[in-house]
Structure formats: structure tokens, C-alpha cells
Amino acid sequence: MRYKILTVDDSKTVRIIVKKAFRLYDCDILEAANGVEGLAVASKESPDAILLDVTMPVMDGVEMLTRLKSDPALKNVPVVMLTAEGGRDNVLKIAKIGVRDYIVKPFKEDVLIQKVGRIIDLKPLDATPSKAKSILDEANLVVIEDKPAILQQIQDGLRHTPWKVHGMASTTEALDFCAKTPPDLVMVSLSLPDESAFTFFRTIRNNPKHKYTPVFGLVVKTDNAAQQQAQQVGFTALATKPLDMTEVESKIAKAMNLDTSHRYFNMDSGILTLAIPDNPTQHVINEITNYLKPKITEAVDAGIGKAIINVQALKRLDMTIIKVLFQAMQTCRELALHFCLVGNPAIIAECKGFEDTRNWQFYNSLEEAQASLGAISVTSSSA
């Protein structure tokens, strides 16, 4: 459901500025030029919030507010006064009638968004469900850490990714950065002085621009109190020190809802290739398992009828890997894909040692496998 915000102001300029301010958010802006029009629109549309000027012709904001509060159907609609009338006496008088908030002109668009964002759950337009970004896309990561060695470890550990890691030593510096460049993810050390990580978290969560930005807490593995506090206030995830960068990278990809299938699946020259990495963790195996059916289906939909399952990089074989390979082959069979396996001598030898895998036929190189699948194609088309 899209939220409705009603702006009541005799100045078309202010109504345009309000519309402009909310253009990146999932909401509709309704307009009225005075209190009479405002009440009519409010009755008809039941807005979720009203931005109300004070000085207007026909019916001013104070009268509209008074009538609104005496109407049982409208009295609960939150009203934010947006007006040049900002003297203490005026503010107190209007506050007594019952306004949720008060913005004195001149105002910055950010203030408008923030104050309305406290009333309704404003979602940025790009936060609505859309095609997930890929692991191959650039992203801005902000890391707030006063220990240079940790920051360096994170920058080095993510160097192979397309992500840009912006290291900062203080939350003040980070807030300035975030105001200019909305980050895709923030990691903040929970051991910063004066609990500033938690203050930072509250500040950016109160800003609708960053309401959905994933925030990780960087915390020492044994600091249970900080971990508990971070979970209670709603940090997206924790990255525990000493950092396991493979795990951190996976958590980041998950938090940013990235399509990571490109790490394992590739469609090129009419062949779908599934490559198992050298030392896959359980998380990696789970990822591959989850992608198996959708990726093979996608390949079939794209007109691809051949697949290569490549375990050449694999260093050791275990039951979880054997299971995922069985599943991959079974899915290929179900969807009528011609497939073949590529392995290295150690893995091929290990497979010979198991009853269930001893009949698996491997090629020693991708080129051989591709040539073999090419021959299938020639045979099929000439048949």
C-alpha cells in the first residue's frame, strides 16, 4: 500500500518542493491550496499524514487543524505544521490543538523526510522488490573502525570483490559521508568510545534514506554483552573478531540480497558450467544447492541444452559435495541437459574409491569436455 501525504499550502512553490522531496519515496502526494480544500481532500482520501501551512487565504491552518481534530473520522490523521510562523507563542498555541510535529520554514528536504519518516514507514522507491543486484556489481561499504589493522584486514579481504570499502575512524565522519553518498552497507565497531556505534545506529535508522541499509556490528567474539545489545537494537548482523573474511563476505552478500550465483554458474557459448570452488564451506554448498534448479531451468529457458560440472579446483571430497554433485546431475537429467564432469586426478581417484561414485566419468580439462559436448551437438543435429 502506498502512503498518502497531503500538503496544504497556498504556495504552489511549497507544494512543488514537497513533491520533489518525496519523489524518491514510495508515496503519493496530494495537494490542497487552503484549509477548505484540505478538509475536502482529507475526507475523500484519508491521508496518512498532513503537512499544513498556517497562513492561508479562505481558511487558515489553525482553523483547518481545529476542524480536523473535531471530526471523528479525521482526528487521528497525524499533522505536521510546515510554516513560516515559528515564534514560541505560535508554536505553543498550535501544539495545544494537537500537532505531531512542527517544521519552520526555511527547511531542508532532509528534515521534511525525517519528520514524516517518523510518522509513516517511508520506503525509498528502490527498496521495493526488484531484481536483486549481483555479486558482480559495484557497492559502497562504509567501515567505521578505530583500529587500523582491522580496517586493513577488511579492505584486503574484500579487495577481490567489486565493492569499494570506505574506512572511517569515527561515526561523525561516517555520518557526513552517508549524507553525501548513501552506502549499500555499513560496518561499525561496537567498541568505539561512548557507545557511539549504538548512537550512530539510531541516527541512521531514524533517517528514511538509511532505514533499510544493512548495518553490521564489528565485535570481539567474547564480548557477549555488546553482541546482545546489538541484537536487541536491531543490527542486521554481527561480524566477530578475529574476522573470517570468507564468512564476512558471505554475510555481506546475503544482507545486500545479492545474486551470488555468478560465483558458481556461468552460461557461455551454449553451455552452462557449474564450478565448485576449491574448499567449499557448508554455506557455499547451501548456496549452490539453492541455485541449482533455478539456474539449470534458466539455462533451459535460454535455449541451452549442455552443462559441465567442474570440480577441477576441488581439493577434497566429502559427503556434502557428493550430494550436491548427485543433485546437479539429477536435475540435468530431469531437464534433459547433456552434461559431463571435469575433475582433477586426486578427486577422480577419490571418486573411484566410493561405491556410489566409482562409475562417474570425468574429463581432465574443460576443453575436452567442451569438445565432447560439441560432438553431442553435431551428432544430434546430423541424426
Binding site: D10, S11, K12, T13, V14, I16, I17, K20, V54, T55, M56, P57, T83, A84, E85, G86, G87, R88, D89, N90, V104, K105, P106, F107, K108
Partner: protein, 174 residues
């Protein structure tokens, strides 16, 4: 009740300067610099040359007054464009009404920021609805009982003239 004479010249200058600077910086991202050299007080006649868009907003209460902000035609279009996020070309195509409304709102905000400071100094008053004048080569003379102060501000390559006309509440019927 406080009287108008209790507000000294420095306070007036600081109040209008803060109002102009705050509004123009916040709304159109431009710094306003008070041009001391051209400051005039109790002028009998103020001459403004060239095509102007003039916004005026009054305030009524313990102090009554009216502030005129004089924008050259170019400055008015430029300021309206910045305020609305439109190019000068788009502003020209949109017509004078859009510029008038934008200048009315900038004046409303500036006078609001000015009079809110007066309210907080103990002179409660409220704003009137903005009005706009357009014309060339103005020559303005206030009525005798009015206190007049004129301040000029450099904003980018333009000059903004703020003409403040005020009289205390007890002088309304005078």
C-alpha cells in the same frame, strides 16, 4: 508592552541579515553577504532601477510592519529555478506566475524568519499573505509615522534589497 525604539540598529541589522542568510542558504544554496556600504536608514525616497519582481509580506501584532524584497528580473528567475529544481529555460517557459509564486514564498520565509526573531524578543506578531509587484524604476516613499530601514545583500552576482517599514502597535491609527 515593548516599544519599537527599544530595538537598536544593530539588532535590526542582525535580525534581517540572519533571516536573509538562513533562507537563501537553505532554500537555494546561495550565501548572502550584507553590503554595509549601501546601508540606508530613514530614507525619504528609495529608488530601484531596472525590471523588478518585488515580494512583500506584512506582520501584525505588537509591531506592525511590511518588508519588501526587490529582485531583479534575472535574479527572480534564477532564484525560482533553484528553489523549484528547474532550469532557467524551464522557468521562462513556465511563465511569470511560477516566478511570482516562488518569490512570494522566498519573501514569506524571509519575513517569517525576521518576525519570528522579533516574537522571541518579546514582540508577538503574525504574518500576512504574500503579494507580488512587478515593474521598473521604482521610487518608494513611506508615510511619515513609519520607521524605515533599507539593507542590501550581495547574493551571487545579484543584489537583493530589503526595505523594512515598521511602526509600533500603538501607532496603528495614527
Amino acid at each position: 508592552m515593548a516599544t519599537l525604539h527599544e530595538i537598536n540598529e544593530t539588532a535590526f541589522r542582525e535580525t534581517i541579515t540572519r533571516a536573509v542568510q538562513d533562507v537563501f542558504k537553505t532554500m537555494i544554496g546561495q550565501s548572502a553577504v550584507h553590503a554595509n556600504a549601501n546601508e540606508d536608514h530613514n530614507l525619504k525616497s528609495l529608488a530601484i532601477n531596472g525590471s523588478q519582481v518585488v515580494g512583500s509580506v506584512g506582520f501584525i501584532g505588537d509591531i506592525n510592519g511590511l518588508i519588501y524584497l526587490y529582485f531583479s528580473q534575472d535574479f527572480a528567475q534564477e532564484a525560482a529555478g533553484s528553489l523549484l529544481g528547474m532550469t532557467t529555460q524551464e522557468i521562462v517557459e513556465s511563465g511569470d506566475e511560477v516566478v511570482n509564486d516562488a518569490i512570494g514564498e522566498l519573501t514569506n520565509m524571509t519575513v517569517g524568519a525576521f518576525k519570528n526573531q522579533l516574537c522571541d524578543r518579546g514582540y508577538p506578531c503574525r504574518l500576512t499573505i504574500p503579494s507580488i509587484l512587478r515593474g521598473s524604476n521604482f521610487s518608494i516613499e513611506p508615510i511619515g509615522s513609519t520607521t524605515r530601514r533599507v539593507y542590501r545583500f550581495n547574493i551571487g552576482r545579484h543584489t537583493l534589497v530589503a526595505d523594512i517599514l515598521m511602526k509600533p502597535a500603538d501607532a496603528i491609527d495614527a
